[in-house]
């Protein structure tokens, strides 16, 4: 039965248009990733509406392509000009630019590509192996456990968001409040509509996502009209190629980083940046010559690249089995699933198992295509670093407006988009992380629904019901403050260690 499903899933992917859509997504992702200042999240937010109007088997792999291409693309400017194209490639700047200075930029780009693909492929393969059993376990849990897991996830996201815990909580509460606008998920009672018709259906996820992730990038870019242009001389892949022996020598480092990224990817809120730095530190710690790290060490590029890409696959575990997006990128993917009528959760594996596995297999396909496309096009994307924002900013704007409008053909969505854009811009200027806001917005309706179901099941005595019959929910609820305290303690300790 399971075997048949996997075969059907593989057969579902045997289409030329799927290959083309993934390839298109990879190219687009690499393009945006290679542009310093533009993020993968922004690219995914802008192209999200395209996926709404395609079949799920075309639209979601397209977004997966953008995701994977973007994460790898970020390493190109990180290596060549010491500017991380995305946050995920920050750790790559520790050794990548030093290799470029030594005339080994081609080798650095090639090891980054291979480490990215290997890390991503192995972690995605591992994800496919474990996600089915996890979904089966998730089927056994009920509304009280779902409520407890959602609460725990929100707290982890706040704790692991960049910046202050209280500022993260403020963003979370604002996101939760925005989610309450419109009809409540239990009895469809209207809340906070202010007798304004467009608010009665609530705030849509698309203008919120495009507003928060794309518009601020435009506003940040427009602050300085003529920015310092990167010297084109630094945007060439130069020097000798990566040798097989060098790749083999990095094998253990790549596998270690893959394991680190794989585990971190399954924890909501942790993400690529954390994985990349931990992968780098682990490689340095295990090295026989740690003094060479920071001075153009090839393992110093392989380790963070394998780790940050290894996060990609496992982020699907909480998303698909529990409907919990672990970061902004999976939040966007959740939007794509929901728009396609696919509600992530354990039930999805029963109802649409073949499609889910086909989407998971598309991640493996995207890895293989990334190797080919990355190998062929990395020198081209190295040149992209110098493209003027005078052309990119208007392009982003007209795409964002077109994409937001087509979803509901409602001009009010565009005003919401601009409003959220301004809010996002101001929040980032004041050092707020927007991730808790998005997560609060997405996870509040299922939390409210699960809590209402728990109340109905408990017949008014929630505490007695939980203690008496729901030990797992109680365990998670007890674990939540302990985990918050531990994460807070760790963050404070790390801050003290840093000068």
């Amino acid at each position: 039965m399971m075997f048949d499903m996997l075969i059907d899933a593989m057969l579902m992917l045997m289409r030329l248009d799927i290959l083309l859509m993934i390839s298109g997504g990879l190219v687009l992702g690499m393009l945006v990733g290679a542009l310093p200042g533009f993020t993968t999240v922004m690219a995914m937010a802008i192209v999200l509406p395209i996926s709404f109007f395609l079949e799920p088997i075309l639209g979601i792999p397209f977004l997966i392509g953008v995701y994977k291409g973007g994460i790898f693309g970020g390493s190109i400017p990180a290596i060549l000009v010491n500017i991380p194209g995305t946050g995920a490639s920050m750790a790559t700047t520790l050794d990548g630019p030093a290799m470029t200075r030594k005339g080994q930029s081609r080798k650095a780009l090639e090891i980054a590509l291979v480490a990215s693909v290997v890390g991503d492929f192995l972690s995605s393969f591992g994800t496919i192996l474990i996600i089915g059993p996890i979904a089966m376990i998730a089927l056994l849990i009920g509304p009280p456990e779902i409520s407890a897991i959602l609460l725990l996830s929100l707290m982890i996201i706040v704790m692991s968001s960049s910046g202050n815990f209280l500022k993260g909580m403020v963003m979370l509460l604002i996101g939760m409040f925005l989610a309450t606008v419109g009809q409540d998920p239990v009895g469809a009672m209207v809340r906070f509509d202010f007798n304004f018709y467009p608010l009665q259906a609530g705030i849509d996820l698309l203008p919120l996502i495009i507003g928060l992730f794309a518009i601020p990038e435009i506003l940040f870019a427009i602050e300085q009209r003529r920015e310092a242009v990167v010297d084109p001389a630094h945007t060439k892949a130069q020097g000798e190629r990566l040798r097989w022996s060098e790749l083999m020598a990095c094998g253990r480092t790549i596998l270690r980083s893959t394991a680190i990224g794989g585990v971190i990817g399954m924890v909501p809120g942790m993400g690529q940046v954390v994985a990349a730095f931990i992968g780098y530190s682990a490689a340095k710690g295990a090295s026989k010559h740690p003094e060479t790290f920071g001075q153009g060490e090839i393992e110093g590029v392989a380790a963070p690249e394998a780790a940050n890409n290894a996060v990609n696959g496992p982020t699907m575990v909480p998303l698909l089995t529990l409907g919990i997006p672990g970061d902004n990128i999976t939040a966007i993917l959740l939007g794509a699933f929901v728009a396609q009528g696919l509600r992530p959760g354990p039930q999805l594996f029963q109802d649409q198992g073949t499609l889910v596995y086909a989407l998971l297999f598309s991640m493996l396909l995207a890895c293989v295509l990334l190797l080919v496309i990355g190998y062929l096009l990395t020198p081209v994307f190295a040149r992209v670093v110098t493209i003027s924002k005078a052309y990119l900013v208007p392009l982003m704007l007209i795409f964002a407006v077109g994409g937001t409008y087509v979803y509901r053909s409602n001009p009010m969505d565009l005003y919401f988009m601009i409003g959220f854009g301004l809010f996002g811009y101001g929040a980032r200027k004041l050092h707020f992380d927007l991730t808790p806001l998005v997560m609060g917005f997405i996870l509040t309706p299922p939390l409210e629904y699960a809590l209402a179901q728990s109340m109905l099941l408990s017949r008014g005595d929630l505490l007695g019901y939980l203690v008496g019959t729901r030990p797992i929910a109680v365990g998670i609820l007890v674990l939540t403050p302990v985990l918050i305290f531990w994460l807070g303690y760790r963050q404070r300790k790390q801050r003290r260690v840093r000068p």
């Binding site: 939760m176 809340r191 427009i222 009209r225 795409f399 601009i418």
Partner: protein, 170 residues
């Protein structure tokens, strides 16, 4: 008395943008709490029992309380925060640039339906590209004419969704 005044003075001196945001969060929490009775509809009651597990007022009230409590804690914490607002280093020209783009965005959205997606997109893309400093006609042509055409065709032809057509179109 002098010590109290000195302490009050030092607290005032430690106020920063985080303190202002914290107070705004507290005020927002109070406003939400006050709005709940007027802005949240109640579900029907059958035989003296609510038809749903939890009241639709519960979450907004919890959020309001959360905002007041977290806002107060944030205010206290803000007094020892040393963050610099990102707005502080912005030059006057940056504010002008932001204002220009914001007005362009609003005009774009307002004119989208009356003038159609293509005409407004071409106008806005060309204007922003030119304002941003580009004087390359090929670049402006690609951004201002080709890109809106491609995006319009992508959405309307290949994805079969509608964008406002030309003002003279159907």
């Amino acid at each position: 008395m002098t010590n109290d005044m000195a302490r009050a003075g030092s607290v005032l001196a430690r106020l920063n943008f985080n303190s202002a945001v914290a107070l705004a969060v507290v005020v927002l929490g109070i406003v939400i709490w006050l709005l709940v009775p007027y802005q949240v509809a109640e579900p029907p009651v059958f035989f003296g029992r609510s038809s749903v597990g939890i009241s639709p007022k519960l979450f907004p009230q919890m959020i309001a309380i959360g905002m007041v409590v977290i806002g107060a804690l944030y205010f206290i914490a803000s007094l020892s925060m040393r963050q610099i607002s990102g707005f502080r280093g912005l030059s006057a020209s940056a504010y002008v640039n932001l204002g220009v783009v914001l007005i362009a965005m609003l005009a774009y959205v307002a004119l989208l339906r009356p003038l159609g997606y293509l005409a407004t997109s071409m106008g806005v893309a060309t204007a922003i590209s030119f304002y941003y400093g580009s004087r390359n006609l090929v670049g402006i042509g690609l951004t201002g004419i080709a890109a809106p055409l491609v995006i319009y065709t992508l959405f309307t032809r290949y994805l079969s969704v509608s964008l406002p057509p030309f003002p003279w179109g159907s």
